[in-house]
Symmetry: C2
Subunit: 330 residues, 2 copies
DNA sequence: ATGAAAGCGCTAACAC
DNA sequence: GTGTTAGCGCTTTCAT
């Protein structure tokens, strides 16, 4: 277990060259005379030498690692972001360091600060407001945000949240619904945008939106909220949920309450997580291209690392996915 | 962006002490005289000093990072493993380095070798056989395997796969089923164990098991395999799937084929992923405590790092979760 | 094309 | 308690 690995000096000695030569060889920095190259090759093979990335990083100041903080890896949306980011990282020979902050806002800052020291750049998903996020700029590392920031000069990636819920509201309107509720997650920074999208659409039709809060972005929270929404004084005919997880839980509980979806109630989510398709009934939702978001965020960061500055916001376009959880108002 | 951070020497100068003193202070190694401590504190605060973990690691030989390789983060089973592992890592002030090998066996070895150099220990989930895995021992790092190995002296965690499918077969038998098929994933090392469990149970009842292969551990693969299984010459009344994802896809496609689950066909999975509960119908499965597996794997590794050797295999006990996708044979 | 030497930022003896 | 010093394994001028 403790057979300590050979150092560059061991290789130099074995090959009868200097450490500088070995270093250059390892980095493919230049060409070598045939005999030297042969001896180098042999010595490295022989000793099983692999250069120590830590020592290397200390000098070059680059780690070839990228940090990614997410709120909850259990959420398939974030899983897909990770998937996409990882794919691009791998392709460029970067390693992904994942930190799941577990929706724990207090731990966020120290966690990010510690992570920042071990990576060349960071992709961040956070619930912090812009004003709480100023210290990010002092990290001295390239960043990409997984949400839009109006005031921070940090590149970001996201979708048009307003449009996403606008589309859902329009879809429900087209189906003849008039009593539409929104079941949100107030702690999410994008919740307001999603409310606004749905509300705008309804107001154009002279209708109002009833807003509820699920307190968590999870299926369990959706289940919990269902009776409050459906058995309260203003029973809706259609519910737009903050995300698919909440929608999935909501639908399940609605079934328990004896409410038929979609005959008596239409339900929609946002995210297009892979399991909405297998739910009962299959969930109508808006695809937000989570995996592509991860890919682009990583690509932007890698570009930034390569010196291509970019402080813009890239917005993916939402796409409505109509399945079986929405139907004409009965 | 490029404001380079202060070094230990800057702090030493600012506080009028030696670098050694600063180092000791940072590591909380001992007590200090009041004036020195005060100046240290002030200087550190003033400069915003944070010690460079790379330089530190190079000397101590410890990185406080743990590597985790998984086959596919999209699979909720692995997601849960990551979740559990991350929780324990955080608790012990370790960072998790995640590598998703994307089921790509060729890339596995170089990826793991590279990862090994940046961490104190590794948790591995792999499709490699024991004989292909010998080189792992040369990594010189503590390891934990997410599967049992008979021949490698490496601690591991897993579940009793034989028992898992044995229980499912028994459950189906109890419901009166006689024509039972297994839809597996041959590339998984544990597939054979799962086949064996189901087969043993059936053989005790004088029955045989029809075995099919889904070629991938995904919902999509389950969908694809469905017609082959259900419309072939030996149509089963119950299907035990390798995992929940395959089962979810299988159920969906069965519905498309006009086959009613569970009236005409019982379907089961393995893993108890969070979305089986929201499927149509809710999926009968076996809970394998994925999150606990991740927790225990990480705990074992951290124990090993602390010098507590342990080369044993820890086996979690499967638990049958009966939902709505299984019913008495009609 | 190759090598000598000076560090990167820090810790770990060992002095005082 | 506090300081001095010698590296950790590597890259990088700058000679040759």
């Amino acid at each position: 277990m403790k057979k300590l690995s050979p150092t560059i000096r061991d290789v130099a000695a074995a090959a009868g060259v200097s450490v500088a030569t070995v270093s250059k060889y390892m980095n493919g920095a230049q060409r070598f005379s045939a005999p030297v190259e042969a001896r180098l090759k042999a010595a490295i093979e022989e000793l099983g030498y692999r250069s120590n990335p830590l020592a290397r990083s200390m000098i070059t100041g680059r780690t070839r690692a990228i940090g990614l903080t997410i709120l909850d890896i259990s959420n398939p949306h974030f899983t897909n972001v990770v998937k996409g980011a990882n794919r691009i990282a791998l392709r460029h020979d970067y390693t992904l360091l994942l930190v799941d902050t577990d929706e724990n806002q207090a731990r966020e800052r120290p966690l990010i600060e510690a992570l920042a020291q071990r990576v060349d750049g960071l992709i961040l998903s956070s619930r912090m407001s812009d004003s709480e996020s100023k210290w990010l700029l002092d990290l001295g590392k390239p960043l990409v945000l997984l949400r839009h920031s109006d005031t921070l000069p940090i590149p970001s990636v996201g979708i048009d949240n307003r449009l996403a819920t606008y589309m859902l509201a329009r879809h429900l309107l087209n189906l003849g619904h008039r009593q539409i509720a929104y079941l949100g997650f107030g702690q999410a920074r994008i919740n307001d945008e999603r409310i606004r999208g749905a509300r705008e659409c309804l107001e154009e039709a002279g209708l109002t939106l009833d807003v509820y809060d699920a307190h968590a972005p999870t299926a369990h929270a959706g289940e919990h909220a269902c009776s409050r929404v459906m058995l309260g004084p203003r029973r809706p005919h259609a519910v737009i949920c903050y995300n698919d997880l909440i929608a999935l839980g909501f639908m399940k509980e609605a079934a328990s309450l004896g409410i038929k979806v979609p005959q008596e109630l239409s339900v929609t989510g946002v995210d297009n997580v892979p399991y909405g398709e297998y739910a009962a009934p299959a969930l109508t939702t808006v695809d937000i291209q989570s995996e592509k978001m991860g890919e682009l965020a990583m690509q932007k960061l890698i570009d930034a690392l390569a010196g291509h500055a970019d402080t813009g916001h890239s917005m993916f376009e939402p796409r409505l996915i109509v399945r079986e959880s929405t139907a004409a108002c009965g």
